[in-house]
Subunit: 212 residues, 2 copies
């Protein structure tokens, strides 16, 4: 249990009673334990204040079922894309693979986003896509990126209000390194940011900081 | 405060007294508040069980100063490299860059570790190193990886008992994607695993699971 709360035997018994019979009044819990209401008051206070139980007037105590994991999840659910996103690096569909590789090094990123003439997201280029192309037989200076990129609609995107936790799950599930942060516009998606495993790593480390 | 604990005014006063005067006995706290020891008992119980205060027999109460962040940090300090490491993918110093690129695709990894004749870690190859070489003028089939790899001692390593949190900080600080998990042997380091930002992402997501 987060918060070093170790419940004593009586408190654990109370939890069991409320789990099985809640909502239940303090008087009824006391009855079941053959104790007075006054004797139980400190225990009920501890169980309520530490989040194990909740109490409603004229209803009684009920089990909230919060484990330390749930409490931690609540903390993780405050971390959103908005707080961790980085600036996206974007190339046009007509750019060559050679230009894309140069951009990867100049901007020091692992993934490029490709936009069409109207500025809408049309593709994603990973280092692996570029490495694969570079050992092929084609001339990188005349090969346009739209031949080798992953295309819409096969691109996983996120919005700035999404949870970092959900993006992290998506990165793992889809086995990708990066997702664009997008905004819906008339003809598709505008790319406004990026989340990579570096930002997830930053979010992980930030959990030990006091700033949220 | 993790655990939904909201302290009431009296509990906050007790905390202040203990912060300023601890270690201090329950009797002395009661005196300062002009209350009886019995009246304070539930408050002291809550403050102790929720980790704000600690108590030692014949010494009294003292302030532990634990914030929710510290409690969370305690949880993060249980996650070690051992629990999240993946199998390392290793090539020999004499391998060609072409072979290394093929290995990257076959094994579906982002980083390769290079070992010398005695099996000791001698280098690291990232996708960026390989991409840089592949657009160079050299013949990838005759270029050995030890020409382009990052060499010892310029390699960040970790041990299996290290904290995931510390490895995550190192990945961010050194701006690298992966560190080898190593074991000291006679002539250097044996590579026994790898930690990448993917594993950090997995550790981040695992915080919402109940299995630790």
């Amino acid at each position: 249990m987060v918060g070093k709360i170790e419940l004593n035997k009586r408190q654990q018994k109370i939890l069991e009673i409320v789990k099985g019979n809640g909502p239940i009044t303090g008087e009824h819990i006391a009855e079941q334990l053959s104790l007075t209401r006054a004797t139980l008051r400190p225990d009920l206070a501890i169980l309520t204040m530490s989040g194990f139980l909740d109490a409603r007037p004229r209803v009684g105590y009920f089990y909230t079922g919060k484990s330390s994991t749930q409490l931690l999840t609540e903390k993780l659910k405050k971390l959103s894309v908005r707080d961790f996103q980085a600036v996206p690096v974007i190339v046009k569909e007509q750019s060559t693979v050679y230009d894309a590789i140069v951009t990867i090094f100049l901007e020091d990123v692992g993934t490029l986003f490709v936009v069409d003439e109207s500025g809408c997201l049309s593709g994603v280029l990973s280092r692996k896509d570029l490495l694969r192309a570079s050992i092929g037989q084609q001339d990188l200076n005349s090969l346009p990126v739209n031949i080798i990129m992953t295309r819409m609609p096969n691109i996983t995107v996120c919005k700035k209000d999404d949870l970092i936790l959900d993006v992290a799950k998506n990165l793992l599930e889809k086995q990708i390194d990066s997702v664009p942060v997008v905004k819906k516009i008339e003809k598709g998606y505008e790319v406004t940011g990026r989340i990579t495993k570096t930002m997830i790593t930053r979010a992980f480390v930030s959990l030990t900081n006091d700033d949220h």
